[in-house]
Symmetry: C2
Subunit: 236 residues, 2 copies
DNA sequence: CAGCGCAATATTGTCGACAATAAAATTGAC
DNA sequence: GTCAATTTTATTGTCGACAATATTGCGCTG
């Protein structure tokens, strides 16, 4: 998976960052999960200094929150940040597909269709990790096909944060939307219908956002209280 | 200078990052300047591990390029990256001023005019460092006034990279454009003329870009401590 | 038996030292 | 005199150890 990370570098810190990033995208690391650097150090077989660097860059990326003398944990975006993330995604991705309508080659469209095929395969195979990951990578692929390096990196950050957000605020009914909406977007791109493509993208993102319950709720509290079947009034 | 950095943290690494960032914006650290971590460590009075973390995050930000066994130096964006940066800035800032036309309060416009006044003062006072810094901060102010957190951070990265680019590719004739174009943009915003505001912004950025000669350029190394503006304070 | 304070533990933050690699300088040969 | 190989130096990469701080468990007291 040679992504738009600076992949050529054998740098260990980059590897750690990518690994954590992947774990977050695949929901194997959930928001609020503690990251003890010693554990990470042993897990990667390196010293703590290296994981510390990785933690620093991940913090700047907004993926982990790093409180001074209390260690690091996966970030828990608030509702304001969630709305901002979706707003920014719409802001960027709408223009991106518009631009792609004008510039896309046949090879690009083939790549998009190929990606959707992978999504369908993962969907059929019940591989939920792959489903989630591929769903995000679709948007990154769009960014890459437009030759917009910066926007691509930005979008990587944004999709990652979206993963965090959906992990926090999704209702259990909500599954990740299937590849159908993605396919509708690709269809619009192939038809060179910029307006429809932008509409499809906006609809898609709005669909994602509205499937969440964006209220103030602490994820650990919700998990605990709901899991134990306690009423809301009692605790704390 | 309480910027949209996570300012509240007393974290040393954040301080180092901001200091280097400021030095780059003010042109006291030019592209290609070597950053020997031991020098930085002594300059800031801390150990090398700390500056190494800072270097890691700065590298991910694209501000320094960090080649495996040869140390760190201020990044030297290529022509492709330069064009991408300007494209992305236009992409974002055009929409930003459009949005600001709809949402700006009187206080916002007053803040913008106040900022332009500062720009004029620095311009009159021949304080070229302040001129350059304030010129960039104008765009960041626009981002902040629109309540777009993400776009603000993105724009901070982009303006920084623009600083690098202009430092590399500017002709000696080129001065940083005065506050006039900024004022024109604010006038359009105050008139709630979204189309004109977007045009003004596009023109402004295009003006900046076209004033450069996009060929290869060299840049010499400079003294670290003087460039970072710390006058023997921390050295001892 | 509940609440509070204190000690024990665990985890983080910071640092200096050692090994590995690249750049520079010296020396030798043609 | 110049080029090349080798030694020398400087700088980076990595690590383990020590100090500071938060968390946990225990015991004491009311």
């Amino acid at each position: 998976m040679p992504w738009l990370t600076d992949a050529s570098k054998n740098d260990t810190v980059t590897l750690i960052c990518d690994r954590v990033w992947l774990a977050v995208v695949q929901r194997s690391l959930r928001p609020g999960a503690r990251l003890k650097d010693e554990d990470l150090a042993e897990a990667f077989g390196v010293s703590r200094a290296r994981v510390r660097q990785a933690l620093a860059v991940l913090e700047k990326d907004g993926l982990v929150s790093l409180v001074p003398n209390r260690g690091a944990c996966i970030a828990e975006p608030g509702v304001a940040e969630a709305r901002d993330a979706f707003y920014t995604r719409g802001f960027i991705e709408k223009r991106l597909v518009e631009r792609l309508c004008a510039l896309a080659t046949q090879a690009d469209i083939a790549a998009l269709r190929d990606h959707i095929a992978k999504e369908r395969a993962a969907h059929a195979g019940q591989d939920s990790e792959a489903v989630i990951r591929l769903s995000g990578e679709f948007h990154l692929l769009i960014a890459r096909l437009t030759d917009a390096q910066f926007l691509g990196k930005i979008l990587r950050t944004l999709t990652t944060r979206t993963s965090l957000i959906t992990a926090m605020y999704q209702t259990e009914s909500t599954q990740t939307c299937g590849p159908d909406e993605h396919e509708a977007i690709v269809n619009a791109i192939e038809a060179r219908d910029a307006a429809r493509a932008a509409d499809m993208m906006e609809h898609h993102l709005h669909h994602l956002e509205s499937a969440l319950q964006l209220h103030e709720a602490k994820s650990p509290a919700v998990d605990l209280r709901a899991a134990l079947g306690l009423s809301d009034a009692a605790a704390q």
